[in-house]
């Protein structure tokens, strides 16, 4: 039975992806602060703050000690805040970087070592189209996800020869708690910019992640029909 760790599996995209993998016969560990997730005999919730390096290492060690092999890690846990960059409090920036970037880094380090020992594994880091769009009003969020994309590209090169594939996958707005604070007009405008006026459903996002997983290219891969050219 293949085995995955998904961070932020208690709701939203992580929950949907966990449900899909479980339906396809995977064993899934959901790492999140709230130890909840899909009701399924092959799902196990692990209560952990991914921003805490020692806590992450302990949680991953406990799986290793059980002899568990991890085929796939999806770093999905994320936080966002809508703020003009000049008005974003330092504590908010630190909090977003802690979850989005440090959390991804800690998980990649701890699970990546397991995968190096296994000489195989796949790591998918969830990003966002807000990075190539340089989306105004989301400076801390965009910066944290840009950092995730940079980490992904370095890790992909460092770990490839050990049989570990690392990639980043990004989406436009999906109807989850993360986009709850965004107005309908902003969502419509953003979806227009990326050529997906109908928006992106959780099912479409899950399908895209699995397509990228099969292809094993570092990316970043964006579920978008169009993206603006970089500055």
């Amino acid at each position: 039975m293949p085995c995955a760790i998904i961070t932020g599996a208690s709701r939203g995209l992580g929950f949907a992806l966990a449900s899909r993998l479980l339906a396809e016969g995977w064993k899934v560990y959901g790492f999140s602060r709230q130890a909840t997730g899909p009701e399924h005999p092959a799902f196990e919730a692990v209560s952990v703050d991914v921003g805490d390096a020692d806590a992450v290492q302990r949680a991953v060690d406990s799986l290793s000690q059980r002899g568990e092999k991890i085929d796939l890690l999806v770093n999905n846990a994320g936080a966002a805040s809508l703020n003009a960059c000049l008005l974003t409090p330092s504590a908010v920036v630190a909090s977003i970087m802690r979850v989005n970037f440090l959390g991804t880094f800690h998980m990649l380090q701890a699970v990546g070592k397991m995968m190096v020992r296994q000489r195989r594994g796949d790591i998918i880091n969830i990003s966002t189209v807000a990075v190539p769009l340089s989306l105004p009003g989301e400076a801390a969020y965009v910066a944290s996800k840009a950092a995730v994309e940079g980490l992904t590209q370095v890790a992909a090169q460092e770990l490839a020869s050990a049989g570990v594939h690392v990639q980043a996958v990004g989406f436009g707005p999906i109807a989850t708690d993360l986009t709850r604070a965004v107005s309908a007009e902003q969502l419509r405008s953003l979806n227009q910019k990326i050529g997906r006026p109908q928006g992106t459903t959780l099912a479409e996002a899950v399908e895209f992640i699995l397509e990228c997983y099969a292809q094993r290219r570092p990316g970043p891969h964006y579920l978008a029909a169009q993206l603006p050219k970089p500055f």
Binding site: D61, S64, Q65, S161, A162
Partner: protein, 100 residues
Amino acid sequence: MLNRTQVAALVFRRLALIGQELAKPELVQADEQTRLFGQASQLDSIGLVTLIADLEQDLREATGQSVQLVNEKALSRLTSPFRRVGLLIDYITELLNKPA
């Protein structure tokens, strides 16, 4: 806790396994002067990462404790503990036997 002889046995066993995997007889026959990174090393950067990851697992199994070989203290040493096999054995022995 493990003494230096026991740590050395773990390290040489792991080097031999990686040497077989990478088809590098120099690692199979490593001694305390064998270089682990830099010029004249038989390990590239991912090879060193693999050695460290494997050794952490070996040490966890041998001691029942989680051991992190790479930490700020190790990185700040004037002479890297990852330069030569003998230095690595010394470092691991010290790490395992330091007062709690």
